[in-house]
């Protein structure tokens, strides 16, 4: 199967999707570090993870989308492959009990064998941005001006792209926050910090929350329980944002 030193793969016998929040101290870690935080959490919870084969076997953790450092995540998605079948509720309890500070376990659902891989059909993200209250007065005009443009040529990692068509929705919330839905997933990804810059704000002065992941209706519907990720999510009391909905 492999070199004598390597270990054979353990095919997962079950899959689970976890909807989680990344907040508190974890707001300030990047994606690679978040993976390590998850691994430690899963080991503390003694979750029987399936591993890949080879000299450096790694467990099967699949994130729907990485969240940039500094963003708060409210409805992030992770898929786990396990070597045993567990009751989703029990797994939820175990994870919740062992989660690192800042990691909120919102929901756990088991996934049917035929369900396509997590991330398939991902089409966009909903964000809620909180700005300094003093900026609220000029915000409506700036939004209107931005939406009136037809193209916003930008460059990222030395590649040119157009930000404008990636902005699916951009509006002020009743509380003076900024709600936006940006394309992402299969094609180019719109980043809320770039939208903020286009509006004339310094992203470092804002709090950016990713409140939901949106999936194409055409693609396989996320399994029960996780559908809630794109449906309205429970929002923390202080800043009830707009309800992101499944497209």
């Amino acid at each position: 199967m492999s070199d004598p030193g390597g270990t054979p793969a353990q095919a997962p016998v079950s899959r689970y999707r976890v909807r989680f929040a990344k907040d508190g101290p974890l707001r300030w870690v990047g994606h690679l570090d978040l993976q390590r935080v998850w691994l430690h959490t899963l080991r503390r919870a003694e979750v029987p993870l399936a591993y890949s084969a080879g000299f450096h076997p790694h467990p099967r953790l699949l994130f729907a989308a990485s969240l940039p450092l500094g963003f708060i995540g409210r409805a992030e998605l992770l898929e786990l492959g396990l070597t045993e079948r567990l009751e989703a509720g029990a797994l939820h309890q175990r994870l919740r009990h062992c989660a690192a500070p800042g990691l909120g376990i919102e929901d756990v659902a088991s996934v049917e064998a035929e369900t396509p891989a997590l991330g398939r059909g991902l089409s966009g993200f909903d964000y809620l941005v909180t700005l300094d209250p003093s900026s609220a007065t000029t915000l409506p005009a700036r939004i209107a001006a931005l939406l009136a443009t037809t193209t916003l040529p930008r460059e990222r990692r030395r590649r040119a792209y157009d930000l404008r068509p990636l902005i699916q929705r951009l509006e002020l919330t009743a509380e003076g926050g900024l709600s936006m839905r940006l394309s992402g997933g299969v094609g180019p990804t719109g980043r809320p910090d770039e939208v903020l810059r286009a509006l004339g704000y310094e992203p470092a002065d804002a709090t950016i929350e990713r409140r939901g992941l949106c999936f194409d209706a055409a693609a396989a519907t996320p399994p029960s329980g996780v559908a809630a990720a794109a449906a309205p999510v429970s929002t923390p009391s202080a800043a009830p944002g707009p309800s992101p909905s499944t497209s």
Partner: protein, 644 residues
């Protein structure tokens, strides 16, 4: 001073603007937050480098747990911000704060700083300055915290004596609590700074430099270090804990990738080998072990509390742990099946070590197999007292390769006393011979990694009197190795000779080096252990400004009768023993391992009472049945040239 809430507010503005903001937020799993207002004594534990380096430091982690277990005390963590954050903090007037509760460093009663090596000295000044604490100890008032330092580098405390109020010499576990209790009492009595310092100086193993005067001869040599008042000890004897306290069971789990993400357990302290270049081996005597059960239980608890996937069993010479085989078998059986990677560094060069690694690793061959011959010629090995026959090394290498490891890492040191270019050539030849063994077994897959460091004669070792190699000598030796080892299968790495010089000045310096450290820091020296930040020129200028010649500290053989700057610090190993061992080195005479024969190094008489109060199998020096009589006999025999 800013309140924690104000600090938090300013911090939030800075976090999106710095690299790796998680360094500054804390909040990790197993962090301990105690109610500040209700705790009478507050301790900040600081490591003078960034979070990723300081966080895995085992000594500080143990002290954190220990202090937080005391109902009247709390401990919080502080690391040095990276230069990007330092600049923003200065611009924003954000003081250096603790990760747990965002209190400014100067709000603590006690700031305990870890000083494991010399290249972090300037960062201590950054810590103090950013924390709002006067740099110079004599400028501090009753309002300022007491600044305490401990760690291996403090066995020569003099170069940092201007900045540190008190040093703990030796094992810190009990001494730190003694210091904290002493301060708690002083706080309750309203004792001022001078009284506090005096009270601290009365604690075993605590050195308060302000209570000593240093005088010098006209040529710059130290003449004397004298206590200023009655009741202050002439000599400070290092502290040892008679029994190693239970290992840490709830380590913090960092949210960032740090240099080690693992459960670390110190399986024993001290070393019986007596390598003459080894500072750690001399200053951590005597050997004390933890039991297999205590180690395994601690690992079990810590894995459950952390979820780490790696365990490190740490000591200076792991194969010498008396139950080594039993330990690795138990650990492998208990944790091996859980995809836990277990490492056992510092192995001796013998087939027993390969057996140990095999028992630990099962079929996994992650990383290379590391051996540290330190020298390659028989002559050199006799000089440094690390006798490993070349045939034994090659046999061990053969066994390692044939059991499936593809890479052997070999650690050597250049610059040993009396070293010639022929001795350096022997290093290259040995690397090639090891590679040849590998090729015989594995063909072109075999690899050798040679790590070459440079020897610095350290205080409290038999080599404390010898000079260091000059920059030119070191460079020539490194060049020779580079020329001889050109094969692609041999990877060569070496240390920067300029960094070695800095290490040597600071390790061997006297109290006047305080002015040099200060001037270098003021000119911008910091993060000297980081190649990209190290500025040799700033140090040279600082020496010139202080009117001192760096060579005076490094390139001058010191006569045996010279008063050394650190002689008022007693590491437990006697000067008589060190002198004798120096003479044996010159005669290329080997000394036995302590477990075969006690050399009467001074440890037994120094800690006789302590040991008698804590009998048990943990302490590995021989039992001296007759107490004073037997020890005296041993000392007498050793003085006559024949150790007992």
């Amino acid at each position: 001073m800013l309140s924690p809430a104000e600090i938090e507010k300013r911090l939030l503005r800075l976090l999106p603007r710095v690299e790796k903001p998680a360094r500054y937020v804390g909040g990790e799993l197993n962090q301990v937050v105690k109610p500040w207002a209700r705790i009478p004594l507050r301790v900040a534990l600081a490591f003078p480098d960034i979070y990723e380096i300081g966080m895995p430091n085992l000594g500080l982690a143990a002290l954190y747990e220990l202090v937080n277990q005391q109902p009247e005390m709390l401990a919080e963590r502080v690391y040095v911000p990276w230069p990007d954050m330092q600049a923003l903090m200065r611009a924003d007037e954000l003081p250096l704060f603790s990760l747990e509760t965002r209190h400014a460093l100067r709000d603590f009663d006690l700031v305990g700083i870890s000083l494991p090596y010399e290249s972090i000295y300037t960062n201590v000044l950054s810590l103090l300055a950013l924390g709002g604490i006067p740099l110079l100890a004599n400028a501090r008032t009753d309002e300022d915290p007491l600044v305490l330092a401990g760690g291996h580098a403090t066995f020569n405390p003099e170069p940092m004596a201007d900045f540190i109020d008190a040093f703990v010499i030796g094992d810190g576990e009990e001494a730190l609590l003694d210091v904290a209790h002493c301060l708690l009492e002083a706080k309750r009595n309203g004792a001022g700074r001078a009284q506090r310092l005096r009270a601290l100086a009365a604690i075993d193993g605590v050195y308060v430099p302000a209570l000593y005067d240093v005088s010098y001869h006209a040529d710059g040599r130290v003449a004397a270090v004298d206590p200023r008042e009655d009741g202050v000890p002439q000599q400070i004897h290092k502290r040892v804990v008679a029994v190693l306290p239970p290992p840490l069971t709830r380590p913090l789990v960092p949210n960032l990738d740090t240099v080690h993400n693992r459960v670390a357990v110190e399986i024993m302290r001290g070393c019986t080998r007596g390598c003459r270049f080894c500072h750690a081996g001399m200053v951590t005597r005597p050997v004390r072990e933890r039991s297999v059960e205590a180690i395994v239980e601690a690992i079990d608890a810590a894995l459950e509390a952390t979820g780490f996937g790696e365990v490190g069993l740490l000591s200076l010479s792991s194969s010498d742990y008396s139950q080594a085989l039993e330990l690795v078998r138990t650990v492998a059986a208990r944790f091996g099946s859980r995809r836990i990677n277990i490492s056992l560094p510092s192995l001796r060069i013998e087939s027993f070590s390969v057996e140990l690694m095999q028992a630990l690793a099962g079929n996994s061959r992650r990383g290379g197999f590391t051996l540290a011959p330190e020298a390659a010629s028989e002559r050199m090995r006799a000089i440094i007292n690390k006798p490993v026959a070349t045939s034994q090394l090659l046999e061990t290498a053969r066994e390692i390769f044939s059991r499936g490891w593809h890479t052997i890492k070999l650690y050597f040191m250049i610059g040993h006393p009396e070293e010639t270019l022929a001795d350096v050539e022997a290093i290259a030849a040995l690397c090639q011979a090891v590679l040849a063994e590998g090729r015989r077994v594995l063909g072109s897959r075999a690899k050798v990694h040679a790590g070459i460091s440079t020897f610095v004669p350290k205080p409290h070792t038999p080599f404390q009197w010898v000079p260091c190699d000059s920059l030119e000598q070191i460079t020539a030796k490194q060049l020779l190795l580079r020329q001889r080892l050109r094969e692609r299968a041999i990877k060569l790495s070496w240390s920067d000779p300029h960094e070695t010089m800095l290490e040597a000045w600071l390790a061997r310096g006297d109290r006047r080096l305080g002015a040099v450290v200060l001037a270098a820091w003021q000119a911008g020296a910091s993060f000297d252990a980081w190649r990209e930040h190290f500025r040799f020129d700033l140090w040279q200028q600082a020496f010139a400004a202080a009117g001192l010649a760096p060579e005076f500290y490094t390139h001058r053989p010191r006569p045996l009768e010279e008063r050394l700057p650190w002689e008022h610090i007693d590491a437990g190993v006697s000067q008589r023993f060190l002198r004798e061992d120096r003479a044996w080195s010159a005669a290329q005479r080997l000394r036995d391992d302590c477990r075969e024969r006690c050399s009467a190094c001074g440890i037994l008489p120094t800690f006789k009472a302590l040991r008698a109060a804590h009998p048990g199998p943990g302490w590995k020096c021989p039992e001296v049945g007759g107490g004073a009589a037997a020890t005296a006999a041993a000392a007498g025999a050793a003085a006559a040239g024949e150790p007992a």
